[in-house]
Structure formats: structure tokens, C-alpha cells
């Protein structure tokens, strides 16, 4: 019972929060703060318990599995932090009650998904999550039809694919229980196997923005308030990963349908490459991060698709990690937006001078995103490569490497375009973000740092959740990584080495040199002998990666979005033709009646 209570409590609290905001803003903020604190406290102290009841002749079952609780940790932590972050971030906006209502509904929806042990309740919570996130995507009131409806349509395509799978599964196995489906899957006919698993995969692929179903994501991520996008990209998209993991491992890997797993991995790799390429050329920080998210989700799909122990481990680790670092990055973007009101690279520069804490949080996140030591990103990358190597995926690994190398490009673009470069007068009034916005970012940065050396903190949960997927006895060590061929890396040594050398030189150069150096502004530069005037700004922000664009533009010209749009238009035009049937002339309608009658007679005479 306690399981479902937590979700109902969140929903109830959402409504209470809505009412509180109608009464008084401060009261509402207090309500939000309370749930943000209560959520992790409650989650980490309660005792899980299974619960089921009958609805409409279907049995709904609830309860965490060891697998879903892994994701629940992410949802709870990220949900609480983003809620805290939202309090100052959203403070100046209108209709806060509405915002938090949907915010809490989507958190409740996510927990509900993770708690569902049968497909019907999974679908119900899935849809609750979808429409509540939809209502937040259109919250800003901008481009509601273009972005919002697109998001809803793609979500619906996914959700309806899932619904179709659910009814078919219900028909084949007589129950909608998820684990029962997995257990009996091997007995299905080949067609049933392929159909049901592909439908489920489509459903989850939409939410995890796998190409070619990613079209909604960049705009939806961009259009919702950044405090929500942290959760959206960090946790909500992981619901797709959650399902995808179940499909890929329980259905493909464990039943020998490796081909589909391979296909999934390839899709993931293509997603990773193309999304990264697109991210490189974005001029809006939110869009850049959005495409980056899609790319990272592609890596996860690769890990799940190949389905080896190491691959799954990599995927799950990256899924959690992505929640952390993309959470920080979107929060940083939000902080910048909050203080400057701008998100375009052409309008931002030099913010390191004004927002150092934000910068360092973002730096930590970027390093983790790029996969460099000494942060935890390296571990996820390492696991993926090792998994691909040991399962002999020659070309996938090249694609992944291409993607992660190209990722350096946008990582630098993000840091440079926003925080570095020549500062300008228009940022003189900018202040560091409010403390309540910084706290979540800094906390998550520390998390990334800790995981960089001690990934075992999370491997513990991952290995127990992987036992649900059929990987028993996954070995892990606190800070040593081992691949299938027995090659190891010692993270403590690596990181200590790096930090010690860094520290030694830091001390030397600071003590020896820094005292004698002079701090100058960004306009005091050697510009090939020409002095720069104070009013000129030479910040480099236009056509940032023009040469790279020249290289890959032949590929980038073909956008699947154009195809989708013309398809949708085609459907519209097709039915436009049918509208002509309703001519407005009553006599024509009468004629239809007679025509129909004639057809019925003829059909009746021949068929019945």
C-alpha cells in the first residue's frame, strides 16, 4: 500500500500546492520547498511493499523492482534539486501554481512508471507524465502549436505504440503483468516477438529521443523553463531508457534476438553522431544542450543495444550520470537566463567574471560530459568502449568515438561562448545566481567529482539492479574498472597522479610567477600590433565552427523533419479532399443515401 500512497501523496500535494499558490506566493514556495525536502527523505527511509488491485477487470500491480529503484533514485534526487532550484528561478513568473502542479505531476508520473509492475498502470503513469510535461513545455506560451503539438504528437505516437503492444500482450498472455510477459516471451511466435518488442521499443525510443523519433526534443527542451528541462532531460527522458533497457535486455539479449539489439545499437550510434553534429552548430545554449542530450541518450542506447554486461553497466551508469551533468548544465543555462535574460551566444560573453560558481559547476559538468579524467564521465565512456571492443563492434566504436570527439567542439563552444571571451559593459550589472539556485548545482558537481574516483558508490546499485535484468553476480570494485579481457584501470592512481602533478605545478607557478604577474582586462591583448579600442569588441561568436560545417554540410542537408512535415501536410491535404464530400447541398446528401442503399443492396445480394 505504501507504494501507491507515495504517488497519491505527490499528486495530492501538487493540488495543494496549486491552491497555495492561488492564495499566496510565499505559501506556495514553502509548499514546494517542503516537498523537495520530504521527497528524498521519505524515499530513502520507507520500506517498499507490493500492492495490487483490480480495475476494470485488469489487475494493477505496484512495487519497485531492484531495477526500477535505480532510476527512482535519480528521479527523487534530481526532482528534489530541480524543485529547490525552481523556487528562485520561477519566482518572477506568472501562473506558478499551474507550473508546480504539472511539475509535481510529472515527478509523480515518473515514480509511478517505475513502480508499475503491469503494463496498464505503466501506460497510465506514462501518459500522466506526458501530458504534464506537455503542459510545461507550452508554459512559456511561445510557439505552443509548433513545439507543443509536435511534442504531444510524437509522444502520442510512442504512447500509442505502447498501447498497441499492451493490448496484444494482454491478448497473447492473458495478463498485463510485466515480469510475466518477460518470462513467457520466449514462448511467443516469431511474429509476436518481433511485433510486440518493436512496438514497445518505439514507445520508449520516442521518450528517449532516439533518431528518427527525436524531432520533438530540441524544441521541447528549449521551450520549457530551464528548471524543468533539467528534470526533463535528466530524468524524464530516462523513463524511455528504463523501458528500452527492459526491451533490449529482457527481450533481445536474453532471448537470442540479437539482431534487433544490434539495430538498436546502430540507431543509437547514428543518433549520437548526428545529434552531436547538430549540437555543434547551435547558436542558442539551450538548443545546444538539448541536442547534446539527444546525443548522450544515443550512447545509452548503444550500450543497451549491444547488451553485454559491460554495455548495460555503461548504459546505466551513463543514464544516471547524464541526469547529474545535464541537470547542472541546464541549471547553469537557467541561471544565465535568469540573470541576463539572454540565451543566445551572440549576446553572451565573459560571464566567468560575474558568475564564477556557475562557471565552475558548468566546467565540472562539461568535463564529465566530455568524458575526460579525473571526472566520472571517463568511466562511462570507458565502459562503453570496452563493451564495444570486447563484443567486437568495430564500426560502432568508430561512430561513438567520432561523436564523442565532436562533442569536444560544442563543449568548448558552450564554455567559451557564455563564460569566456571579451567581457563587455552590458554584463557589469550581472550578479551571481541566487544561493538556492547554486546549491543544487554545487551539490551535483560534488557528486560528479566523487563518482569520478569512487564509481563503486553507484556500481553497488547498478549491479543489484542488473541482477533483475539477468546479469547475476556483476563484479564491481570501488575504484577499479575491469574489462572482459582483464585489463584494468586504477582510478585512484590516475586521479591522484593528475591532481598531485597539477597541485605541485600550481604551487610552483603561483608562488614563483603569480606574484610578479599583472592582472589585465580582456581588451589588453596582443592583436598583431594593433591596439584595440575600448568600444570595439572582438569576441568571437559568429560562424563558430564554419570549417567543420563546410566538411559535414553534405550530410546535414537531409533532415528527417522535412520529411515528417511533408508527410503531415500530405495527410492534411488528403482529408481536405474528403471535405468536398460535404458539399452543403442537402440533395447531394440525399443522393449519398440512395447510393449507399444501392451499394448495400448489391453487397447484401452478393455477400450475405
Amino acid at each position: 500500500m505504501s507504494n501507491i500512497i507515495i504517488i497519491l501523496a505527490i499528486f495530492g500535494w501538487a493540488i495543494l500546492t496549486y491552491i497555495a499558490f492561488r492564495l499566496n506566493k510565499t505559501l506556495g514556495n514553502i509548499f514546494v520547498g517542503l516537498i523537495a525536502v520530504a521527497l528524498p527523505v521519505y524515499y530513502f527511509t520507507y520500506v517498499p511493499e507490493d500492492y495490487s488491485f483490480q480495475v476494470m477487470g485488469l489487475t494493477l500491480q505496484f512495487g519497485f523492482t531492484s531495477f526500477s529503484s535505480l532510476f527512482a533514485i535519480l528521479v527523487v534526487i534530481l526532482g528534489a534539486l530541480t524543485l529547490l532550484y525552481s523556487i528562485p528561478y520561477m519566482n518572477k513568473k506568472d501562473r506558478l501554481g499551474w507550473f508546480y502542479l504539472n511539475f509535481l505531476f510529472s515527478i509523480g508520473g515518473m515514480l509511478g512508471i517505475l513502480m508499475s509492475k503491469d503494463f496498464v498502470s505503466l501506460f497510465i503513469f506514462w501518459e500522466i507524465m506526458t501530458w504534464s510535461s506537455y503542459l510545461i513545455v507550452i508554459f512559456s506560451g511561445k510557439k505552443v502549436n509548433k513545439v507543443g503539438v509536435k511534442y504531444m504528437v510524437y509522444s502520442a505516437i510512442g504512447a500509442y505504440a505502447m498501447l498497441m503492444a499492451i493490448v496484444l500482450i494482454n491478448k497473447w498472455s492473458g495478463t498485463t503483468n510485466i515480469s510475466h510477459f518477460f518470462e513467457t516471451f520466449a514462448d511467443y511466435s516469431n511474429g509476436a516477438k518481433i511485433l510486440s518488442s518493436l512496438l514497445l521499443l518505439t514507445a520508449f525510443a520516442v521518450k528517449s529521443a532516439l533518431m528518427p523519433l527525436h524531432v520533438w526534443a530540441p524544441n521541447a527542451y528549449t521551450n520549457s523553463p530551464m528548471s524543468y528541462t533539467s528534470l526533463f532531460s535528466g530524468a524524464l527522458s530516462k523513463m524511455g531508457i528504463y523501458g528500452m533497457a527492459l526491451v533490449a535486455i529482457m527481450l533481445y539479449t536474453n532471448t537470442g534476438m540479437k539482431f534487433f539489439g544490434e539495430a538498436l545499437a546502430w540507431l543509437g550510434a547514428i543518433t549520437a553522431v548526428l545529434a552531436t553534429f547538430w549540437a555543434v552548430f547551435q547558436t542558442d545554449i539551450r538548443k545546444l544542450l538539448a541536442y547534446s542530450s539527444i546525443g548522450q541518450l544515443g550512447y545509452i542506447a548503444v550500450g543497451l543495444g549491444i547488451g553485454t554486461e559491460l554495455g548495460v553497466m555503461a548504459a546505466l551508469f551513463l543514464a544516471l550520470l547524464h541526469g547529474l551533468f545535464k541537470g547542472i548544465l541546464f541549471m547553469a543555462a537557467g541561471a544565465i537566463e535568469y540573470r541576463t535574460g539572454k540565451t543566445d551566444f551572440s549576446e553572451l560573453r565573459g560571464l566567468i567574471w560575474k558568475m564564477p560558481v556557475t562557471f565552475f559547476s558548468a566546467l565540472v559538468a562539461i568535463i564529465a560530459l566530455a568524458g575526460m579524467p579525473p571526472l566520472s564521465g571517463l568511466i562511462s565512456k570507458w565502459l562503453i568502449y570496452e563493451a564495444l571492443l570486447s563484443s567486437e563492434h568495430y564500426f560502432l566504436i568508430i561512430l561513438i568515438f567520432l561523436s564523442s570527439t565532436a562533442a569536444f567542439l560544442y563543449c568548448f563552444h558552450f564554455l567559451y561562448g557564455v563564460f569566456l571571451g571579451q567581457r563587455e559593459d552590458d554584463i557589469e550589472d550581472v550578479k551571481e545566481a541566487p544561493a538556492l539556485m547554486l546549491v543544487p548545482m554545487v551539490l551535483m558537481s560534488f557528486g560528479l567529482l566523487a563518482l569520478g574516483t569512487f564509481p563503486g558508490l553507484i556500481f553497488k546499485h547498478i549491479s543489484s539492479s542488473m541482477s533483475y535484468l539477468g546479469f547475476n553476480d556483476v563484479t564491481w570494485e570501488m575504484s577499479v574498472l575491469t574489462n572482459e579481457w582483464g585489463n584494468k584501470i586504477y582510478l585512484t592512481h590516475l586521479n591522484t597522479m593528475f591532481m598531485v602533478v597539477f597541485a605541485v605545478f600550481f604551487v610552483i607557478i603561483t608562488l614563483v610567477a603569480r606574484k610578479k604577474t599583472r592582472r589585465v582586462g580582456t581588451k589588453d591583448i596582443a592583436n598583431a600590433g594593433e591596439p584595440i579600442l575600448a568600444e570595439d569588441n572582438y569576441h568571437f561568436s559568429q560562424d563558430f565552427y564554419k570549417p567543420f560545417w563546410r566538411v559535414i554540410s553534405p550530410v546535414m542537408k537531409y533532415r528527417i523533419e522535412t520529411f515528417y512535415n511533408s508527410f503531415a501536410n500530405g495527410i492534411g491535404e488528403f482529408f481536405q479532399f474528403f471535405r468536398r464530400v460535404y458539399t452543403g447541398n442537402g440533395q447531394t446528401y440525399a443522393l449519398y443515401v440512395v447510393i449507399f442503399l444501392t451499394i448495400l443492396f448489391i453487397v447484401g445480394a452478393t455477400l450475405i
Binding site: 471535405r579 468536398r580 452543403g584 447541398n585 442537402g586 440533395q587 440525399a590 443522393l591 440512395v594
Partner: protein
Amino acid sequence: MTEELMQQILKISFYGASLALILIGLYGVLTKKNLIKILLSMAIAESGLNLLFVAIGYIMNGTAPIFSTAVLDENNQLLETVTMVDPIPQALVLTAIVIGLGVTAVGLALVIRLYKHHNTINIDEIRNLKW
């Protein structure tokens, strides 16, 4: 002329006439442009249908289903020689006629309204609502 032949002639004439009326009415509804003519055609079709119904209820050499003193003996029993036709079609046709009347009346009222609004009773020109 035998009884059977008479029966066949009656059958063909009644059924044929009623079907012809129905088809003529439908033809009128589908082709006439004048709203009033359309309503009249519909009334014609209904008449044909009513005729058909009554014809179906007929029994050869039957009388009206009324137990008047002319068809009863002294004990109020029906005379052996009398066959009565089916009373149900007659009752139902009565209902059908009244319904037809109601529809026609409402239709005519609508035609009056449409004429006032559009200044025409050509059905092709009254097409504000479409698609």
C-alpha cells in the same frame, strides 16, 4: 375471370402502383430543385408506402374489421361467411400518415424561413454550411 387471375391483377396493380409512387417520389426528391417540390415528392413517396402497407393487409373478399350489427348474428358471434381484413396495417398507416403530416408541416415552415432568408427556394443556392 377466375379468382386467381383477379388476385394476380390486383396484386400487380396495387404493388406496382405503390412501388411506382415510391420511386417517383424518390426521383422527385433527388432531382427537383424547388424546395416545395421536394417536400411534395417526399409526401408522394410516403403515400405510396402507405398504399403498399394497406395492400399487404388486404385479404381477398374481406370486409372492414368492424363488428357492426351487419356482420354479427344474434349471439354477437361473427357470421361464418365474413372474412375480415387485417386491422393492424390500417391502424399503423393512420399513424404513418400523421407523422408524414407533421414532417411536411415542419418542412414547409422551414421552406418559408429559408425563402425569407435567401429569397429563393432553389436548393442549389442554399449552401452556406459546407465542408
